[in-house]
């Protein structure tokens, strides 16, 4: 199949970017979206042009590295999918496809489709951990955790930090990302101990990074590749309000 691509090209962080048109022929329906970009890049190399730079790593939907706006939607037209798991059969022959980087003040574009997501790392560094020496793996029944609780914590922990929630949010809010981390840790006995301190620190860091407010439009849940529930945002707010009320 043949596609007409309009791709965001930007030299570096400070430069002004622009949409550039490309015609790509010989695309197979079995290709992933990233393989389609690889195909285009191979041809650009042969022509001696600079390749289109984009983030990617595992290419099996679990690392969270890839991510771009495809036809105005985070990770493309499908819900619950990363860009690498989006295949060309989701597009029609002869279609025009717009490809842009995720945009947010806290996610500056480094080059083309590549963005700097270290704001997420800073949020994790501010409190997304358990500050106890872990030592050896403990005896598995020494701390009892109900199956449902373990599953709920794991559902929250499934966040791969791709940033689609921020990209699709009209306020560029990182509420879903931050709340998933807070939920994950507060559900488990090891994490619960520091929950008050953690939520204050992580929400503070989220603000310091320049993310916006959560307006509860719930767009993030739709675009999240891991389908993290927006109810985690409710839990984060609950933990935050509780921490505010009970703080000494």
């Amino acid at each position: 199949m043949k596609l007409y691509l309009k791709i965001w090209r930007q030299e570096h962080r400070e430069s002004k970017g622009d949409m550039v048109s490309y015609e790509v022929e010989g695309i197979s329906e079995q290709m992933s979206f990233l393989e389609m970009l690889d195909l285009l890049n191979e041809r650009l190399i042969k022509k001696g042009e600079r390749v289109i730079e984009f983030d990617h790593d595992c290419r099996e939907g679990i690392c969270g590295a890839c991510g771009m706006m495809i036809n105005g939607r985070a990770h493309g037209p499908l819900s619950g999918t990363t860009t690498c798991q989006l295949h060309m059969r989701s597009f029609k022959d002869g279609e025009t496809v717009y490809i842009e980087p995720f945009r947010a003040a806290a996610f500056p574009v480094l080059r083309d489709l590549k963005i700097d997501r270290s704001a997420f790392d800073h949020i994790i560094q501010s409190g997304g951990y358990v500050s106890a020496s872990t030592g050896q793996a403990p005896e598995s029944n020494s701390i009892l955790i109900a199956h449902d609780t373990a599953e709920a914590a794991f559902d929250a922990a499934a966040c791969i930090g791709c940033g689609a929630c921020v990209a699709t949010c009209k306020n560029s809010s990182a509420a879903l990302f931050t709340s998933a981390k807070i939920s994950h840790l507060v559900l488990l006995p090891q994490g619960k101990l520091e929950s008050a301190d953690r939520v204050i620190k992580m929400v503070g860091q989220m603000d310091a990074e320049g993310f916006g407010h959560c307006s509860n439009t719930e767009a993030c849940e739709v675009e999240c590749p891991q389908e993290i529930s927006v109810l985690h945002i409710g839990r984060m707010n609950y933990e935050y309000n509780k921490a505010l009320a009970l703080r000494k």
Binding site: G72, G212, N216, Y240, N241
Partner: protein
């Protein structure tokens, strides 16, 4: 301490919910306008007089003014932060496919409501408090006549109806959104609050919409 995004939202949620509560009382009071004309005049004027004289109501009314102002001011602050957080705009944007229109446009809906409120305060609240009103048979200020007269004008009825529709959409998102901000995360109650929000928004919107229409078509003098 430093005000965070969540504290801003807490102000929006608590003031918003207080305004939601006020709307119920306001609607119940206004439903007296639907009584037969002579009874309605006496009752409504008596009710208005009661409200303006009671010290408890006075205190609540100051909380109400404060809530209104805080809700509007904080909405402005929040919007400014959000615009800054967005960074550069998307060239091709179809993000609207994954969320409801009213959840994304609470600011626009709120602005319509604010403009409506200015007109509403000027025409009734100001006139009642500072204007020279004729008295009814019982010696109460005759606000009833003012209300009935103003709704003889078609454009005025339309202005009110449109504002109520904006209010309805604002409430539909606002009521549930406030519960999320306050920290309701249990799945069962999150669903319940959605249902309650729907019923509440529908009842308030249709209730308020009924009154001008009723007056316009039934009490045309």
């Amino acid at each position: 301490m430093k005000q965070t995004t969540l504290i801003y939202k807490l102000v929006m949620a608590t003031t918003g919910l207080f305004l939601c509560f006020f709307l119920i009382i306001h609607l119940l009071g206004n439903l007296q306008l639907l009584s037969p004309p002579e009874l309605a005049r006496e009752q409504f004027n008596w009710y208005s007089h009661l409200l303006s004289g009671n010290i408890l109501i006075k205190i609540i009314s100051y909380v109400l003014y404060l809530s209104l102002i805080a809700h509007a001011v904080y909405a402005l602050i929040i919007t400014r932060v959000n615009i800054k957080a967005q960074g550069s705009k998307y060239v091709y944007d179809k993000r609207s496919k994954v969320s409801s229109w009213n959840s994304r446009n609470m600011g626009i809906l709120g602005t319509i409501i604010l403009i409506f409120l200015i007109i509403h305060f000027k025409d009734y609240w100001y006139v009642y408090k500072f204007g020279n009103l004729p008295l009814d048979a019982k010696g109460n200020k005759d606000l009833y006549t003012i209300v009935i007269t103003s709704f003889q004008q078609g454009w005025y009825v339309i202005l009110y109806e449109l504002s109520f529709i904006a209010l309805g959409f604002h409430l539909l998102h606002g009521f549930f959104s406030a519960s999320r901000t306050l920290g309701l995360y249990h799945r069962k109650y999150a669903v319940a609050i959605r249902v309650v929000g729907w019923i509440y928004s529908l009842a308030i919107t249709l209730g308020f919409m009924l009154i001008p229409i009723y007056i316009y078509f039934n009490l045309n003098s």
